[in-house]
Subunit: 156 residues, 2 copies
């Protein structure tokens, strides 16, 4: 039972998919659902396991790949961990004008986050903290690169 005034949190993501001309299918819905259930990263295998026999690993794989390509997920890897992690990118509320979007590079409006890994149990959780702009500037100066992306993980 869905209360009509409680917007389904999946909707904006589904819309993004449709806008990207990616069909909304049961598998993609399932995978996205897991990401929405809790603010926690998944790996191909943990996700596949968590979905039980609901779908094949290759389908989970393709759902992950597609959601990542559509800009809904970000990917990261941790030293010592063999598997690749994915986590949901929380997009800002500002919806781009549909007419304006085209083949250009994806608007970088996501509020990405970083991760902290428990030394003992390996559990990964999110942080709302990000690299300060000052540091970013220093990095650009020191390297001569224009930074477009960064990843930061803590262990403790």
């Amino acid at each position: 039972m869905k209360r009509p005034d409680a917007a389904d949190p999946a909707l904006p993501y589904l819309d993004r998919l449709r806008q990207g001309k990616v069909k909304v299918t049961p598998n993609r819905r399932r995978v996205l659902g897991r990401f929405l259930q809790g603010d926690k990263p998944w790996t191909l295998q943990s996700l596949h396991r968590s979905l039980g026999g609901e779908c094949d690993q290759s389908s989970v794989y393709r759902a992950l790949t597609d959601l990542h390509a559509a800009g809904l997920l970000e990917e990261f890897r941790l030293p010592g961990e063999r598997e690749t992690f994915f986590s949901l990118i929380k997009h800002r509320e500002t919806p781009r004008a549909p007419g304006g979007r085209g083949s250009g590079p994806k608007a970088r409006t996501h509020a990405h986050h970083h991760h902290i890994v428990c030394q003992d149990c390996g559990q990964v959780s999110h942080l709302d903290i990000c690299v300060p702009a000052g540091l970013m500037g220093k990095v650009e100066d020191a390297s001569g690169f224009r930074i477009t992306e960064h990843h930061l993980e803590f262990k403790g």
Copy 2:
């Protein structure tokens, strides 16, 4: 060919190995040599390739594993890259005096660094810049963890 007054930069590392009761062998010397040649990270395969037929991949693998276990190398992984990277840890000459923030029960005295990856060519290089202590404190507060390790990568 060696000028006696020019200290071999490998010596301190070899000493560290010997102190750790790790035998100094041609393969480990070769691998370490590559890390000393330039301040650049290597993967198992790039290193193996770079060494030509000089030794087997499994030997490179074991050399990497051993040097990592001995604390001479640090390991990291990049999103999108399949291989695991290793880079030389430059140890400080003077052990850190206790007192400052971040001095934990275990004295981790390595001067680690972070990485920047070229968007176009995939080349990885080092940065001497690190996460500011203030951010670290905020992370500890927000997470309730005591941070023992962190990784930071930029792309641009």
